[in-house]
Symmetry: D3
Subunit: 239 residues, 6 copies
């Protein structure tokens, strides 16, 4: 008994990572998790925010947004509404935090890298695709800074990948598309380093609360998914 798209429960959707999708940004990636398509651009600038000036330390931050037509039904622009919604805020913060976990601020020096993750098409897992793609764009931006002689050391302490897992009809499944996501009783996003340690765990009971064994099952599935994504990132960066 397989899933609607024929995958096994512990199988990722087809993952594509296209580097250098933009001409200007220091690093840019079009990442696809099935039909979910996110453009991740890393812009590097000299200098850091005011509260960090003179510290000798760099900064990495992220902004996430969805294009209006990326969803099944068109959604209003946050610029038109004049305010950013809670979900957008939450995901932007999550992406920034996840990438900072593998950054050595000292080696980055007083440089700032902003990761813009714009969802061109949404089919579930946009935040995990964004983190996974943003890491690759970040790595390219770091290489770009190195190439320009702007860095002395290596600010990347490791790699980062993220995946969603959930319980559908009582079964733990990896990398949920939209149609599974809306039906999930429990939904969890996990961000991990390339060497298998946790950066972030966010699990939510959408339906009934879940018990510890179920939680343990989801964590195991996420570990597998992040390991697979790490391998794909490595291949992309080697390309």
């Amino acid at each position: 008994m397989t899933r609607a798209d024929g995958r096994q429960n512990d199988e990722l959707r087809p993952i594509t990572i296209t580097r250098g999708w933009l001409d200007h940004a220091a690093g840019s990636v079009l990442v696809e998790f099935g039909r979910t398509r996110v453009l991740c651009a890393a812009s590097a600038t000299e200098g850091v925010p005011r509260w960090r000036k003179g510290s000798g330390l760099g900064w990495v931050t992220a902004e996430y947004a969805m294009l209006p037509a990326s969803t099944n039904t068109r959604s209003d622009r946050e610029s038109v509404k004049g305010r950013i919604g809670g979900r957008t805020h939450e995901i932007s913060r999550l992406i920034g935090r996840s990438l900072r976990a593998v950054i050595d601020y000292k080696a980055l020096g007083e440089n700032t890298i902003v990761l813009d993750c714009d969802v061109l098409q949404a089919d579930g897992g946009t935040r995990t695709a964004a983190i996974t793609g943003a890491y690759v764009a970040l790595a390219d931006a770091v290489a770009h800074l190195k190439g320009r002689g702007a860095l002395t050391g290596d600010p990347l302490l490791g790699s980062v990948a993220a995946v969603s897992v959930g319980i559908i009809d009582g079964e733990p499944r990896l990398d949920l598309p939209y149609e599974e996501d809306v039906r999930a009783e429990t939904d969890m996003n996990v961000v991990m380093t390339g060497d298998g340690r946790y950066i972030e765990v966010q699990g939510t009971a959408e339906g009934a609360p879940f018990d510890r064994p179920l939680l343990d099952g989801l964590l195991g599935l996420a570990e597998k998914g992040c390991a697979d994504l790490t391998a794909i990132q490595r291949t992309a960066l080697a390309g």
Copy 2:
């Protein structure tokens, strides 16, 4: 080797739950986790938001905010800044989601309960104190609606409590005050039902990424803390 305030690693701060702190609200609680002090008010109104009208189902939502002088250094008002910050959005959403996990919308009928959680004094763990106190205010509001004959069934499917756990100097600790929170390598907030199931798990590596055994240790500590808080809630509601 104990903590600055003399507690054991698996010990909560002194917890106080004062019901009926306001005269108007259907339920109101002043909850204290040590020096953290949150006023939780449950306002019940007939009717539901537009998108839910005619469904026969109720709605529960929450808004979290901090008074400017609640923190060590005065913080600016979000009303003056004209926009709500990401952290506030995130916590408001978390509180609402946590309480909705134990609500039977059908039994609530087309009534809305809004939980306002205003931090009067902040010393770490404001979101977990807010959830723990808001549940008690919610229970009082539900009793108030029942007393008015506005409900036929019982919309409360269980109780909810929340606690923070973290790793300080390599040791897992329960219910972090501000001075421990800023030093924590990993910080996790856990929301659980009174019968020991998970509603929400949010763990973040503030310093180095954490491995699975450490994660398991934190989860165990949180289970203990939530069980203790559940007992305190029961006593308060029996009072």
Copy 3:
């Protein structure tokens, strides 16, 4: 023929002033005028706003706000609405102006004191309670600055208290609770110094315009009320 709560027309509600209600603020007071309950916190910081830098003069300002559940029917948060309403602006400005009337800016030096007056429960007279309580918090903050050696002279030129008066059924009454306030034909707020001089008079015909004898009667009643409040403030500060 007495009032609904049994008071004489020239009698204040029970007044409570609790100092030191918060741990962090330089001065903090929970002030109660009957069921009206306002938390007044004075935060002192070195430095002054940009337009005043280098003048050698200090600054005192205030921000007033109501918690959503403080009123009979829950009111929306101004932070959520994204803008501050006219009434809030008006009262914040009144409180600031009232306190500045007794401040010697030179003796304060280039320090700023912000008074946050947050209404926890509203039952009429919130602005006059806020001014009366804020003065006590301000006095504590000044003492705190003196204790830290941050001041050379004494910036307090006097004390400030405020009270509402109104005409109900043709009779002048002191310190109106909400149920009298909504029925008042004329409503007046008076701010006075401890030695009986006027800082601010704001009288409004809610119903029919009023004549001079009625105005004179209200002023006399307010003078009596402010004198009583001044005595209560002195006792509180001596405690």
Copy 4:
């Protein structure tokens, strides 16, 4: 010892009221108090705000604003800043309240009249000029509605005029221009009906607090000024 502009202390500046300054509005007045110049336009529309629908009662409201170049030094537009300042809010509310004091809502029926008071040039007393001019525009709008057969009774219960008074160098003076206003120790705005009753009294100690005899002196001066303005309004409306 006279004033800089040669007036007696109880003398108004030259007052000009030009009716019908605009072609579209139901009533429009360019009012001048010396160099202060305010355009008051009354727009009448059928219907009332939502909260008043079906009541059979009308509504009158006002909006005050200053053009950027109306002041000595250009001030920023509130539309550009994206928010209305406290002073603007306060004055808009004052104008609306003052006019509503002489309106019989029932006779107005479910019609709304909005008074726009835009300061073209500011030289002190803009709010009192606005109220004085707005009353005339309102009277014209009411006549316009009557002419169209939109009213059965007469919604105007009386007339309204307003003036500022203040203490300069210890002397009470009437109708302060900007250069006196900035030097005033006490500043008071008084709104009165044509038959000499009070609608609003707002007195503020800008410098030292003031005593009762001084307050009484200011009230007497304001009564004289409002009576003079009432006569000018009558002449204008008879023209």
Copy 5:
């Protein structure tokens, strides 16, 4: 076959330019194109925006707005709505660009001139009246700066005038009032220098797309109108 107001197709409405309408601004003009009435004020300040500091070059900018009662039906204030609409933005930018076309930034030195164009009454052609009047206010402000010795050279490279043209019932017409504007199939605004060169051409098919001969006809008519306006400006400035 003439127009509703009796004009020939290539005839302007009666044009009035009243200089010195305000006491404070460096230059101020009340410009009237028939019943359209715009107050143009030029405020000069030392210094330039941050991005231009130290360049030795000046800056000229403009802000356009409509008073709520200027239109047939009252329109809401943009300050109350909290955001500036697209049309307002567009016209403000057009006015600024048009005036900058005849400014020698170097001769202006590091001074800024802001042109505020506030529509007091709107009857079509408000943007072209604003540009035509703003040029005269600008010329007065430049003369004012010269008089103060703030300028060494002459920053005005020429004069600017603007006019609207359109196709009504298949006929090209000059300077459209509101009633013609709403019926126009094609609407064009043209900004020209006093010596007959183009600064800006903005033509829009409101109804059917237009062909090249029609476009050429409109351009010819606009050239005639701008020449007439230039003559009127010269007369006004000579007055």
Copy 6:
């Protein structure tokens, strides 16, 4: 003497139109003018804005925006700034107006089509690329509505294409990339129908004002460019 990219003065950059770039939208196009890359999505919904309800007429509107990393130097998000800039407003309005010029509202019935034009990469001419691509997305959306039986007639009265022209070093050139755009003395955007009529002409003197012969030269070049783009659109739609 050719251009930096080797083109003739009357030659377009390589133009690519990729239809069906998104899975959800009724029509979607990735349009490329050289390195300028715009995603145009047409979302169709039943119903029209409130002011048009019951008219039997449809509506077409557009929103333009740039991704932060689309420009050479990263630009801030308008959603983060909380307001839409004047340029964005202006271009959104231009695109909407241009498309509405070829729409028969009656044949569209009470349906709304929103065109979202998001610039993924900017290298000059983003607004003209957006209009050219949006027309194709609109045509696909109309076909989609027809396929669903939602339309009776054909709402498309013609096709629309747009191109920029400018004067560089005294020479008129077609379709300016960014490096030419910033150097242009005069910049003009022209929107035309497929049968060679004008919808919109917007010409601006960036440097010196321009004379009529130069204007005529630019119009001729634009006519040639729009004809070329129309042919490319036809080929794309036939594909």
